[in-house]
């Protein structure tokens, strides 16, 4: 249970972690890209439309996430396909 130790260990300087996280997020937000890009909801809808041509999926089965690292962004899409169509698509 590593995350438990995270809180227990008095060695861990959480204030330093807080500062580092803040420096990253604030540098990013000051560049004007406050938060996630605003086309995400539309992107999600359109991807859903395409996937629906092949399989029965609902709004909830599509997840769009943005992850930020120091110098770049990762856009992660995941679509949960229903069991029976998984084969057909392969």
């Amino acid at each position: 249970m590593r995350w438990l130790n995270y809180f227990r260990s008095s060695q861990r300087n959480t204030a330093r972690t807080a500062k580092e996280r803040l420096q990253v997020i604030i540098a990013h937000e000051r560049q004007g890209a406050a938060g996630a890009p605003d086309y995400l909801p539309r992107l999600q809808r359109e991807i859903l439309e395409v996937v629906r041509r092949y399989a029965e999926v609902s709004e909830r089965d599509v997840k769009v996430e943005v992850e930020r690292e120091d110098g770049y962004e990762v856009l992660a899409l995941s679509v949960a396909l229903p069991e029976e169509t998984t084969h057909a698509l392969r």
Binding site: A15, A18, K19, L22, I26, E29
Partner: protein, 269 residues
């Protein structure tokens, strides 16, 4: 011209209303004619912190809508001369504030000889917060030593620099001052709370003062007495320093180190 001070933060619950009440009371106490306006339409609180909730008849929105005159809505403080409170309305929609309406009220306060107008901003970065900061000459940015609060303060600073009247008209920028509240030096020493230096590194605006976490704040708000009138508590002293520094006095920063309790208190307190 009266000086317009907005007390703002982005995040809610960080101490804006406490600070607005304390700073306005402190300024008035020092002899400056001061009004404090509650911009938190629909969720008024300043009247409670100032202890005048039972004297509210008309409010800010009534004045903007010409349903009452400013003098009918302004509540004169009973403890401190030169201090007036303009309460927010409790029920109306928050879009009731318009630039023109707010401007008219500020102009009238100016004509009545108010030296300072303190604007207590609602949380968020929406309309109400925008209206509270739009006309500001000075911004007191209230920040807690906590990641979400620091981030929100940075966003508010961005808005001050781009969407205030001063920014829009290309005038001299709004003067920014940092007030760190609910500070706990013992936790900073232990490494589990951001230090004032950390916050200054990130926000890079001048520090006006640090208000320690202090139970006198809750006691003061229970009683409806602005905490700056409390001579004993640390928070009251911190706010007194803040007012003095703002008025140009050279007062060294305090409350950055853990309180040294007398041995007796350490053993039994």
């Amino acid at each position: 011209m009266s000086k317009i001070i907005v007390v703002t933060s982005g995040k809610g619950g960080v101490g804006k209303t406490t600070t607005s009440a304390a700073v306005a009371t402190g300024l008035a106490h020092r002899g400056h004619k001061t009004a404090v306006i509650d911009f938190d339409i629909g969720l008024r609180n300043l009247d409670l912190v100032m202890g005048c909730e039972r004297r509210v008849v008309y409010d800010f929105v009534n004045v903007i809508r010409d349903e009452a005159r400013l003098n009918q809505a302004l509540i004169k403080d009973k403890r401190v001369d030169n201090l007036y409170i303009l309460p927010a309305s409790q029920t109306r929609d928050k879009d009731a504030l318009t630039k023109e309406g707010v401007q008219a009220v500020l102009d009238e306060l100016d004509q009545q000889g108010f030296e300072f107008v303190v604007c207590d901003s609602p949380a968020g970065i929406e309309h109400g917060a925008h209206m509270a900061l739009y006309f500001a000459d000075e911004a007191f940015v209230v920040t807690n030593p906590e990641v979400s609060s620091v981030r929100d303060s940075d966003r508010i600073l961005g808005i001050l620099q781009s969407r205030s009247k001063r920014a829009e008209e290309g005038l001299e920028p709004v003067r920014e001052h940092l007030i760190v509240t609910r500070y706990e030096p013992t936790r900073v020493d232990r490494g589990d709370m951001l230090s004032v230096e950390d916050i200054l590194d990130i926000l890079a605006i001048p520090l006006l003062g640090v208000v320690p976490e202090c139970k006198s704040v809750l006691q003061a708000s229970n009683a409806g007495v602005p905490v700056v009138l409390d001579e004993v508590g640390r928070a009251g002293q911190a706010y007194k320093d803040i007012v003095g520094r703002y008025l140009g006095e050279n007062i060294p920063q305090r409350f950055l180190q853990p309180e040294k309790k007398p041995l007796f208190k350490r053993l039994f307190g």
